[in-house]
């Protein structure tokens, strides 16, 4: 039991670490945001699932498990909205990567509208 919890938390720590390294190494705003979703998804879900397994296995406390599951669900629902609005705001503000995009359909369509 304890080993399963440790493995889950270890996995999520690994992904949080990878996300942080990506955050520091990526060259531009958009790619940094991409890398940070790594932390947000498996990085957090691993800890939450570990917590659920621990609270059921160790204390047989189902109330705590249900609360953790709800925490995960609401996190999953609300988190993407921040990523979405951050990229949109950054783009509208005129931030572009140094090497440019491979293809930029959004900008092309925005110019056509004006």
């Amino acid at each position: 039991m304890r080993i399963a919890v440790d493995i889950l938390i270890g996995i999520s720590l690994f992904f949080a670490f990878a996300g942080t390294v990506g955050l520091l190494r990526m060259p531009d705003t958009f790619s940094r945001l991409q890398s940070s979703t790594n932390i947000a998804t498996l990085g957090l879900l691993g800890v939450i699932i570990g917590g659920i397994v621990y609270s059921i296995g160790q204390y047989a406390d189902y109330t705590m498990a249900v609360k953790l599951a709800i925490l995960g669900v609401f996190y999953i629902i609300t988190n993407p909205i921040s990523g979405h609005s951050l990229t949109k705001a950054a783009y509208r503000h005129g931030i572009r990567p140094k090497d440019g995009f491979v293809c930029d359909k959004y900008g092309e369509d925005m110019e056509n509208d004006d």
């Binding site: 690994f14 990878a18 990506g22 990526m26 060259p27 958009f30 991409q34 790594n38 709800i70 979405h84």
Partner: protein, 182 residues
């Protein structure tokens, strides 16, 4: 803003009450047969007050659309297995992309992807699924005539054609979302 119908109010209230049961831990007590009536009554009152205010933001379409066992099963199966598997694959890919020594292998770009979904919840669920998958972020949703398009920032652009990129990004995801929402 439209005025909320009674059916919208009722279904918002039911959802609120379910969350009250889950959060206060009453759902566990009900299975053990020791639920307290006071807490349940307080929960009903609280959900009535909340849904009076929030029903008009919460539901704009058919009110009891999701109160259908098949749809809920589909939702659970999608969010645990299909989406979970996609999530793990994309996470591993992204983690190794970030941790690999040497020059970063990235190829960023914004692609435009058509979607067949129409309802608000379906679109937001697809956009959220795409954003949560590392490597892709939904930037905007636009209606152009009859069709709806998503603009997606993709960290490793392999194809720029609309339909091929759509297949690569949201292939299985959209199939399953369309089983749940219109």
């Amino acid at each position: 803003m439209k005025k909320a119908k009674f059916s919208a109010f009722l279904s918002t209230m039911i959802v609120c009450f379910i969350f009250w049961l889950l959060l206060t831990g009453q759902i566990v007590s009900i299975f053990k047969g020791e639920a307290s009536i006071e807490v349940l009554i307080a929960g009903i009152l609280a959900s009535i007050i909340i849904s009076l205010f929030s029903a008009r933001f919460f539901i704009h379409e058919k009110a009891f659309y999701l109160f259908n066992p098949l749809k809920i099963l589909c939702l659970l199966f999608y969010s645990i297995f299909i989406f979970g598997w996609e999530l793990i694959k994309a996470n591993i890919d992204m983690a190794f992309r970030a941790l690999k020594p040497g020059k970063l292998k990235i190829n960023p770009g914004i692609v435009k992807v058509p979607t067949k979904l129409k309802s608000e919840y379906g679109l937001s669920m697809l956009a959220n699924s795409i954003t949560l998958t590392p490597g892709t972020i939904t930037m905007d949703i636009v209606d152009q005539g009859d069709e709806t398009f998503l603009y997606i920032h993709w960290i490793n652009v392999t194809v720029t054609d609309e339909n091929e990129a759509g297949e690569a990004i949201k292939g299985t995801l959209e199939k399953w979302v369309r089983r749940i929402w219109k």
